[in-house]
Point group: none
């Protein structure tokens, strides 16, 4: 087993390569050989760092979500009105999603995996739950500061994340037609103000 410093170099190298080719061809249609080529290594070398294709996919899944939520904590400790912060966050997230368009298929494939395998589902679930709690905590700040009216905070967070997720699908299908930043902003604004209110 390679030494730690070598692993620290090779593992991201391999995961980056895997991300690229998985995005292009899907988990199953991608051959270990493809990943190796993309990484500039030999097939056998991949197996020095990941014991199987499945383990590689799992490692990717973990990294995928770990990275996603570092920004979230920053969001909660930032200054200013909650609504402003959340809308800024919304814009950033949608922009980021567009920038990462090439990798969207991997996210959908993770959903498919999660929908059919308990192991994957648990991993993905934890990430989304953490995500949801982050958004909910932010909204709760707004409520406590009197900026937002008291409603079901958890549900509102779910609705907002749903907007993000759903828009990702629709934008992927029609990138030219759907103004994802605009719709996301408007929808989140509407939800913040009106969700759970009698109208």
């Amino acid at each position: 087993m390679p030494r730690p410093d070598m692993r620290a170099e090779r593992i991201p190298q391999i995961l980056d390569a895997a991300l690229l080719v998985f995005a292009r061809s899907g988990f199953d249609q991608t051959r270990m050989e493809d990943i190796a080529e993309q990484a500039g290594l030999s097939k056998a070398t991949i197996y020095l760092y990941f014991s199987s294709k499945d383990e590689l996919i799992l490692a990717l899944l973990k990294r995928f979500f770990d990275q996603s939520f570092e920004a979230l904590t920053a969001l909660q400790t930032a200054e200013g009105p909650v609504a402003v912060r959340l809308l800024e966050w919304t814009r950033q997230r949608m922009a980021e999603m567009q920038a990462q368009a090439a990798f969207l298929s991997i996210g959908f494939e993770f959903h498919a995996l999660a929908a059919r395998q308990e192991t994957s589902r648990q991993l993905v679930r934890q990430s989304y739950a953490q995500y949801r709690r982050g958004i909910a905590a932010l909204i709760q700040q707004g409520v406590e500061q009197g900026e937002l009216q008291a409603i079901n905070v958890e549900e509102l967070a779910v609705a907002i994340i749903s907007i993000y997720e759903g828009l990702t699908v629709l934008w992927m299908l029609e990138p030219g037609t759907v103004d994802v930043v605009g719709v996301a902003e408007q929808a989140v604004r509407a939800l913040l103000v009106c969700y759970g209110r009698d109208n």
Copy 2:
């Protein structure tokens, strides 16, 4: 090539079987043999009706979305206030989604396919576009009848469908925690009333 009446019987039989095993194992991990077993036929017989595995998947994709929107036309010609009809539709759709939970993975896999293949993307896009137009037309009715305020109808439709899509993901991950029917209803109500409005 089998006679038409034979095809009318076998094709749904095979597609039903495929739906089941694809949902369980994914497109790539499912073998033609698995489909044949589930259908009570032999592998070779499948090839009398579908020229390849890919074609079978495409046929499934088509049927998958065709079925989804038959109810939509009924929605537009029904009676009563638009908001009531849309909320009822929302409830039905979420209930239907829960009832079809076992097949959700297929939907996600279609998204993954669409994200990486132009051919699949066009198919899925058309379905979603038709869907979006249906919802938009309904909202437009409400605007014309003075029931809803004039806003960007197309965008609102996109936001509403996003809620459906996103909630499907979140519910799949935590079926016990997320009250999809409730959240969907509240969110759609909020969007209908507040989307695009200054608040």
Copy 3:
């Protein structure tokens, strides 16, 4: 799974081919491809009849020993003095061994397998035990008919079989030098007359 009549044809065909190439290259150095070629089939076809290489080897092992002992029963029911019959049997066995020289390596490899795997050992042990019992029963006939003196019949059978086995090794090493038929005959004769006697 192929029909019985097809299996009855293919299985011996495959086992015959396997015997040949295993004898030439050993179990591990033989590739499934080699067996397939020798059998005039494709690799995949082998897997229609044997689920793995190991299973194929086991099947061969079984057939190997099953065949060996059909003649043994005939030996016990034949007419004439026991000593004469046993010596005739000895000559035949050694001649047969020489005729099958090309396959000796398989026998040795079975011994190696048996020496290190419980599963294989049980199979081989049963065959040898059956063999030993056959020889012992024959000798017992001689004792009961007053032809041979009473001694430890079981042990004598073990000694005789050891001669067969050991001579096989020595002959394999020096086929030109060792007169297996002659030595086997003389040795068995000596054992029959003198084993366990005070001299």
Copy 4:
């Protein structure tokens, strides 16, 4: 290339390790890695002392037989009646075989190798020939001293060694059932007295 004194230390260390793991898993199923682990060295270090796996096996083969016959010369120069010495030798040899039970599989695998490769066969043959000559010389002593009757000395030696070899197989299969020391002793005694005699 390591210095001689280093070689004198490492080579037995590696051969001992190889013996152990080869006995457990067979030549082909054993990986160089396994040998290295057992020897407490790294894989690459093995290659400092043996240029390939095959060479390592050959070296083991040589050592295996070299060791076996050091005692043989002692046997010929010892005092006392030949029969007594040979029977003592027989007992020792069978006891030694039982003590080395764990390594029997290697011997059988050498037989298999010898049966299919000329190179290995020559090596093994020389060892057995030397062995046979040793036993024959001993018997010849007995004949010349008038202790044993004149018969075909070479053939008798072959018969005796066959007993050793054959009993090894039978004992390996049924260590609890076969009294190898007893049978070997009785059988050798019978052969000494009666082999080649008219009875």
